[in-house]
Each structure stands twice: as structure tokens, then as C-alpha cells.
């Protein structure tokens, strides 16, 4: 057990546990807060896996923006304080079965497929901003541009969606 392995196991436990809480908690805002914990733990795992830049982007975008947006939406939709009994649909059992099926399929695949393969992190190239930037703007410039168009479309879509009813707001 190296330090990295111990840290990974700890962070993994935190991530999985808080993720479970995200989907099971009866208080909506707690779900968002547990999501923060999950995302933070995953960011930590990214750090362990030599993906420093991705880790901080994860913090910046997810925790700084996405979760704030989620909280914003919860507040705007008048999420009540305190637990709510009817937060889940009455199909928990089938949902558990389906999720279990997914886990079984994916888990068996990865465990069977990569059993005994070691992930050697010593001397791994840390994903610094420089290397990431170089690859994005050289090798992956086309997907990057496509992505920019996608973002523009999303921006326009979001504006249209939020303005659309504004004009009909009189009703």
C-alpha cells in the first residue's frame, strides 16, 4: 500500500459515499452539497492520477459554476428546507435493479478486462496547463472548435428559453 493507493481509497470512498447520499438524501439542498463533496473527491482523484489541470477545471466549473447554478435553480423553484418524503418516485426497486445491472455490466467488464494491470503513476507526465494547452490547440483543435460552436448554440438556446416566456409574461 503506497501513500497514493491509500489516498485513492479514501477519496474513492468519500466520492462513492457522497454520491450515494446525493441520490438518496431527502433534502434537496443537501443533495447539491453532497454533490460538491463528490466532485471535490473526484477532483482529488484527478490530482492523484496526474491530471492537475483537469482537477482545477473540475473545481472551477463544477463547484464554482454548476453547483451554484443548481443551488440557484433549487432556490428559484422554491425548494423547501428540511426533508421531503416524496422526493423519490415509487419505483425505487426497479431503479435499483437497473442501476445494479449497469454496475454489474460495467464492473465485470472493467474488472475482467483489466484485471492485473498496474497503473504506474511514478514519473507520469503531470497534466500541466502547458501540455494540455499545447495538445488542445494543436492535436485537438478541431473538436475544440466544434465545442465552441456547441457552447454558442447552448448560449443562444438558454437565452431564447429564458427570454421566450418573458415576452409572453403578461399572461
Amino acid at each position: 500500500m503506497t501513500v497514493v493507493e491509500v489516498l485513492f481509497l479514501l477519496l474513492g470512498l468519500v466520492a462513492a459515499g457522497s454520491a450515494l447520499l446525493v441520490v438518496t438524501t431527502r433534502t434537496m439542498v443537501h443533495a447539491a452539497l453532497w454533490l460538491v463533496v463528490t466532485l471535490g473527491a473526484v477532483a482529488g482523484i484527478f490530482l492523484l492520477l496526474a491530471a492537475e489541470f483537469v482537477a482545477w477545471v473540475q473545481i472551477l466549473i463544477y463547484v464554482g459554476a454548476v453547483v451554484v447554478l443548481l443551488l440557484f435553480a433549487l432556490m428559484l423553484t422554491k425548494a423547501p428546507t428540511g426533508p421531503q418524503p416524496d422526493l423519490d418516485a415509487r419505483r425505487a426497486l426497479p431503479a435499483v435493479a437497473v442501476a445494479g445491472l449497469v454496475l454489474a455490466v460495467l464492473g465485470t467488464t472493467v474488472v475482467a478486462g483489466f484485471h492485473g494491470v498496474e497503473l504506474d503513476l511514478d514519473g507520469a507526465v503531470v497534466g500541466s496547463a502547458q501540455t494540455t494547452g499545447a495538445t488542445i490547440f494543436q492535436q485537438w483543435v478541431l473538436p475544440f472548435e466544434v465545442l465552441s460552436v456547441l457552447l454558442l448554440a447552448a448560449l443562444v438556446g438558454a437565452i431564447v428559453l429564458s427570454r421566450g416566456t418573458g415576452r409572453r409574461g403578461g399572461e
Binding site: T27, V29, H30, L33, V36, E52, F53, W56, V57, I59, L60, V63, G64, A65, V67, V68, L69, L71, F72, L74, M75, L76, A79, T81, G82, V126, S128, A129, Q130
Partner: protein, 320 residues
Amino acid sequence: MAELVEVLLRVAVVLLAFLVVPLLVGQVEHKAMAHMQSRVGPMYAGGFHGWAQLVADGVKFVQKEDVVPAAADRTVFKMAPAVALLPYLVAMVAIPIGPGLVGQDLDIGLFFVVAVMGVGVVGTLMGGWSSANKFSLLGGIRVAAQLMAYELPFVLAAASVAMAAGTLSLTGIVEAWNPWWLLWQAPAALVFFVAGLAELQRPPFDIPVADAELVFGPYTEYGGLRFALFILAEYAGIVVLSALTAVLFLGGWHGPWEDQVGWLWTLAKTGLVAFVVVWVRVAYPRLREDQLQRLAWQGLVPLVLFQLAVTAIGVVVMSS
């Protein structure tokens, strides 16, 4: 072993700075604002100019009863001040004071600082929601909307200076700094400073805590030590913002005799910016919510996009 000691030492120094410097800023705010507004305030604690008033306030906060509203979400309510405060502590670790004088010199320090500062707002949101108070909730919504609006120009302004320096390392940026950047990056500096003020919900961007409308916004239900922690977080935020502005745009430790007293230059510039923060609070009236949004989307974002273009042109011209 020596490494460990050094790390511990650095952390201890940062922690100490974290505990002391925001208090200094708070003291400056109290006194400078009082004098600017010609309302002298308490002048007795400690004797000269009432210098120990802050300490007395601290003692008073500690003595107060720890009240949690009955309808509140207790856990979240209690955790909120810590979540609001901690990111600034973490951010301070990466800010260099002088050459080598830094808690931890990170390769992507700028990114780290910006990312961590964004987390702080979650604490405010937690407080606003968990208080089970409609003023708090409205304040929280305003905080979220404000953060959404100002995060973009904030990050883009930082990106501009990073682009100019060609690195994300804060130390590297200071080293690449050149006095003429004061002109070249002036719009970015302005945007960074203004957007930072807005993220800290400092006046004139303090509509979320507008006491005339929302009592005290997300902090309405807080009292005693927890309220003190929020106040501390605000001052810590001012310190981090000021230090970042100084490091990114004002050249950090650059100045006469920088080899000997560089750290002093950084602190002086930080102090200057912090004083401006206080000064702005006194000088400008609060912006309305719609003015706030308009300033962000119609003022700062176009301006910083223009700055990015100028920076890119400058970088290309200079590198060729």
C-alpha cells in the same frame, strides 16, 4: 525531515498571516471609513484612536449565545461560515509575497486561486438557504446570480494576464511582469478588480446583503462567532483579492531594491489596493440588481473580451 519542517513552517506562516492580515484590513476599514465619513466612532478601547476596538468586538462576538433558528437546517447552517472562510485560506497558500516567499508555488497557481475562490460563494449560499428565512433566501439568490454574472469577466481578466505572461504560475507572472503592463493590462486590471469586488459582495455590489431591503441577506440569522467568521471571510476575501490584483497587475515585489525588500513592496501594494476597496465602499452608492447585471454583461464582458484581443495581438507582436 527538513522538508516536512519547512512545509509545516510555511503553513504556519500562512495561517498566521491569514489570522492577522484580515484583521488589519478590518481595522483599516473601521477607522478609514469613520474618518472619511466624519463619524469618528468608538475611540476608547486601547487608548490611541481606539485601536483595540476590533479585539473588543471579537471578545463580544465570542461571548454571545450561539443561536440557530428552529426551522433552520442545523448542519448546513453551522457549516456555512467555515465553507465561506476556508477557500480564502487555501487560496492564500499559493499567493507569492516575494521571490520564493510563497506557501506553495503551484505550476497553475492562478488557476488554483481562481477555482478555489469560486468555492467560497457556496458557503454564502448554504447560509442563505439553510436559515429558513425569506430574506436570507432572497439574498442567496442574489448572491448566486451575482456570482454567475461576474465569474466570467473575473476569470477572463485573469486569463488575459496569464496569456501576456505565458504562464499560469503566479510567481512566473510576477517575473514576467513589466511596468508597461500597467498600461497594456489596465482594462483587465479594472475588470479583475471590479469583478472581484462583486464576487466578494463588497459595496457597491452589496445588493445581496442590502440592509435596507433584506436586513442582512444571507447572514441575517447569524450571530456571535459565526457572524464573525463571515465577516472574517469577507476581510480575507479582500486580502486575497488585493494580493492577487497586486501580484497580477501591479508587479508584485517589483520596485526599488526589490532584491532586499521585495516582499515589502508586495505587502505595500496589497495594502494600497485593500485601502481602495475600503475607499470604494465609502465613495459609491449601491448598485440596483438590474444595474449590477447590466454592468457585468454589457460592460465588463465586452471590455475584457476586447482586452483579450489586445493581449493576444501584443503577445504575437512581441514574440515575433
